[in-house]
């Protein structure tokens, strides 16, 4: 089986936020929740870079380790999913997650937390595949349709890559090699020129 991974190429991301919008639309994500976000560092300064982040579907997920009700599971494709019927909305996964992936809609009195919502790699959830329950709780199940997550599929610069880890890394490695080759041909120091590293 595959091991699904996202990778965002910071040299290509142009902070268009199309991935965020695509995700929200495809999965009908609850109000106030964004499963994916684009973060720009050094905005407006030399060396500005943007990265699109969502759940990274960790092999040894901290959210799953810290969850007090053990609602996380990993699919055969290496996708980390959770069961909203079991989630109690405690927020611990959000504190433990390195990427800030888990999100909480506000619900109930005093705007307390609802059930956690996060990127599913467009793989639905534990409900019956393509059922309305699955769609309303977890969003689309594009993986079951043989498609990749929409955020990556429609990334205009192909900065955001999604798919089997070995294929994603092959694509990225080729890019790096080709970029290195072309910049060397131009006689430019790629690393210094584009990354502004001392």
């Amino acid at each position: 089986m595959a091991t699904m991974k996202f990778y965002c190429d910071a040299e290509r991301c142009i902070e268009c936020n199309a991935c965020v919008t695509a995700c929200k639309n495809e999965n009908e994500v609850p109000w106030g929740v964004n499963r994916r976000r684009v973060v720009t560092i050094k905005d407006g300064e030399p060396g500005e870079r943007s990265l699109s982040v969502a759940c990274m579907h960790c092999a040894d997920a901290p959210c799953a380790a810290v969850c007090p009700v053990d609602c996380f599971y990993t699919t055969d494709d290496g996708i980390v999913l959770h069961d909203k019927d079991i989630c109690i909305g405690c927020g611990y996964c959000f504190y433990a997650c390195p990427f800030g992936a888990p999100q909480f809609p506000e619900s109930g009195a005093f705007s307390s937390r609802g059930k956690m919502d996060k990127c599913t790699f467009c793989a639905g959830g534990p409900e019956e595949t393509f059922s309305s329950n699955e769609y309303s709780k977890y969003g689309a199940n594009r993986i079951a349709e043989g498609k990749l997550p929409l955020c990556a599929e429609m990334c205009s610069t192909k900065a955001l890559l999604a798919g089997d880890a070995s294929m994603v890394s092959d694509i990225y490695r080729n890019r790096i090699i080709n970029r290195g080759a072309s910049t060397m041909d131009w006689g430019a120091n790629y690393q210094r020129g584009s990354l502004n590293v001392k």
Partner: protein, 357 residues
């Protein structure tokens, strides 16, 4: 093995190591050479992944890096949450197991102590005379705080230890129902507990200030070392429990209120910190509460009734709170007081004599 053999085997080992190192190094040289021969490009060289520098930077090794994002949310501009890993490890590897051990050990110690010591009887038997000890207000506040404490403690322990202890027994969908309801109770009753504890502080603070002679009570081990430990209205152990409950309670309440309302954009670092504080303080107070509940209920004859009926037996007071007994015995007509019967005593509990509180 002779000295020469040893030397020889050392040389062989070094030689093997050298050959292996040479092989590893030659591979790294071979790879770019292959790339040169297969492709048109001649000037290929090792190109570092530009992502590594970026990720190193956002992991905040050199101080916090906060970016900008169109998404609004707590810490949305932070790419990597560096404290989460530490918090998770501390919670899963330290707080959860050690709080389990502490609570279990406390229970075990109480059981062992009970088996050794047995029930502490009123040595001279019941006198039949009752002395007023806790007013209706005090008793009401005590039991309100006590019920809230038990509910909050139980739901908190479920949240903390449930995954380890209950999920293997009942499965996670059944446990989720309990934990979900428990979390609701915990979140809603927490602020009520905060108010109740303020009432408790006010109504029980009188008589709970330490006095110099309380040292003697500690030195005598609270009477457990065989020697009698004299005490006033509250003995030094009760005073310690009072202050532990109040100060520990304050820490639990302040941290709890911060955790209870995540709508004020508290950062993850803040929540992690107060979760640790809340957990440690709660477990400490819970362990002490086990002791208090044991002492107040089954440990000794005649202890519970003063908190249920408001009256204690005169002989119990004489044996456990001798200095207090000396103070109050003159101001109350012992002989004309209520009978031992609890029902009669509870009727009289509404009449509030001038002593107590």
């Amino acid at each position: 093995m002779t000295e020469a053999n040893k030397n020889r085997s050392g040389i062989i080992r070094r030689l093997v190591l050298f050959v292996m190192m040479a092989m590893i190094l030659s591979f790294t040289v071979v790879i770019p050479a292959e790339a040169e021969s297969s492709g048109e490009i001649v000037k290929t060289s090792a190109v570092p992944n530009p992502g590594t520098e970026l990720w190193r930077e956002v992991r905040q090794r050199g101080g916090p890096v906060v970016g900008v994002t169109q998404v609004s949310g707590v810490d949305a501009g932070t790419l990597v949450n560096v404290s989460g890993e530490n918090w998770r490890q501390f919670r899963v590897e330290q707080i959860i197991p050690y709080s389990g051990y502490l609570l279990g050990l406390t229970l075990l110690l109480l059981i062992v102590f009970r088996l050794i010591r047995g029930e502490v009887k009123i040595e001279s038997g019941r006198s039949g005379h009752k002395i007023f000890r806790f007013s209706l207000n005090q008793r009401t506040i005590h039991w309100v705080v006590a019920s809230l404490f038990v509910i909050l403690g139980l739901t908190g322990i479920i949240q903390l230890l449930g995954r380890t202890l209950l999920i293997p027994v009942m499965g996670n969908s059944a446990f989720s129902g309990i934990a979900s309801f428990g979390k609701l109770l915990h979140d809603y009753l927490g602020p009520v507990f905060a108010i109740a504890l303020i009432f408790m502080l006010v109504s029980f603070i009188k008589g709970n200030f330490y006095k110099l002679k309380d040292i003697n009570w500690f030195l005598n081990g609270g009477g457990m070392l065989g020697k009698h430990a004299s005490a006033g209205r509250y003995n030094a152990g009760e005073k310690s429990w009072f202050w532990l409950a109040m100060l520990g309670g304050a820490v639990i309440i302040v941290s709890g209120l911060i955790l209870d309302f995540p709508i004020f954009d508290q950062s993850r670092d803040t929540m992690e910190f107060y979760l640790v504080i809340h957990g440690i303080a709660s477990i400490a107070v819970l362990a002490a509460a086990f002791g208090h509940i044991y002492m107040g209920t089954v440990a000794m004859e005649g202890a519970l009734e003063s908190m249920t009926t408001g009256y204690c037996d005169a002989n119990w007071a004489k044996e456990h709170h001798d200095e207090w007994y000396e103070e109050v015995k003159d101001s109350v007509d012992v002989s004309s007081d209520v009978k031992t019967n609890n029902n009669e005593a509870s009727i009289n509990s509404n009449a509030q004599p001038g002593i107590g509180a």
